[in-house]
Amino acid sequence: MLDLLFHTQMSLGLGQAAAVAVLAIIVAQFAARRGAKIGREIPLVLLRGIVQILLVGFLIAAMLRGPWWTGIPVLIVMIFIAATIVRRRVPELPGAYTLSLLCMAAGAGGVLTVMTLLGIVEPKIIILIPVGSMVIAQNMNIQSLFLNRFLGEVRSHRGEIESALALGAAPEHAAESYLYASFHASLIPAIDNLRSLGIVWIPGMMAGMVLSGTSPIYAALYQFVILSMIFIAGAVSCLTATYLVPRRIFTPQQQLRRLT
């Protein structure tokens, strides 16, 4: 009976994927005729997307058979990869990789650890991997936003920062107001997500849970938990960055580095 259901679900899934892929290709062909240069790219992107996500599906399926803690190294690897992506966004910042690795380990890593210990995130692969990857991915976005904004502020306020140094200010103090401004700006999307939750958007995770038969009420509460975790992880990682990043933009002689 279960076997039979699995079988139909599988073929149904493949059929659905094929249908949307065909539709996407048709749309891309129309767009290509209007001069958009996506005609050739789209089939490849679709193929790549389905292969990647299927691999993850197979990986999770395989891991489901093993103990739950095999999810931990997977999430740790994700944080390392996220740090390389953040670094690519701020190539001008010396030591950006280590910095964002530490910040996200404190943020996403810390929150996921605490939540798992508290039992808010159940130690099951089927929960740990999707929830963990969502928190890490959002933490990565918030972290890049923070560093990007901060470096932009520093670049456009060199005069003010050096004036503060020239008056004898400590480097962290000279950069303080720009740290706070960036901290606030980088968390706005996470805060707005909480604000608009359920009204403007019903997030994918909740939609997925409802689709797979979970009670909509529980799915709603769980979605709130996840968005709160994203906010907490982002806030902790950026807060950590406010302590670590001044050391990267100032020299030991308390001079503002030229960030090019």
Binding site: G159, E160, L167, A169, Q253, Q255
Partner: protein, 231 residues
Amino acid sequence: MTTNAAVLEARNLSRTLDQPGGPKSLLRNIGFRLDQGQVLAVLGPSGAGKSTLLRMLNRLDEPSSGAVLLQGADTREMDPRNLRRRVGMVMQQAYLFPGAAAANVRYGPAQHGIILNDSQVADLIQQVGMAGYQDRDVATLSGGEAQRISIARALANQPEVLLLDEPTSALDDVSKQEIERLLATLVRERNMTCVWVTHDVAQARRVSDLVLKLEAGQAVGFGTSQELLHA
């Protein structure tokens, strides 16, 4: 420290940048010594290295070699924050911090644990010809007024040496004259030792005792302004 040490001395100051495509020399072997109350004008075309020299004197830029001595003591041995309190700087633009004029004047001393009272602030603001402007939002000030507040902000630290990086060159002609006169008077009244970067030869003649001419990072002339500018 010897009793006859110069207030400010630069010895063989050089700054070279490591750049992809080879090192770039910004300044080579610059030296001078200033006694109490002397004003040194640094003259030279754009890109000659004038700002670079000035910024090495309060260590906003790091010298690659050579030394800066303040009252005979090597500035590399000092806490940069302490050095910068003793060697004040006024830049081409005011770069005031958002907020009231008074908060700007209080900023420097506050960095060293000194809280100026209202009458001390009023006094400093009055000395730069802005009496009564304590509570003004600096965003509403004109260029000349902002520069006056930035001068008061620098003086609030009671610096022993004042560094001026083309303090009048971003201003209109009238403000230019007023700010030059204000600075010249303040420096003379307080018998302050001063390094004044300018590209205006006439200004250098009016305000300085000594002149250093820079070209492409090299000193091409050093002497009294009598010798170099009044000939």
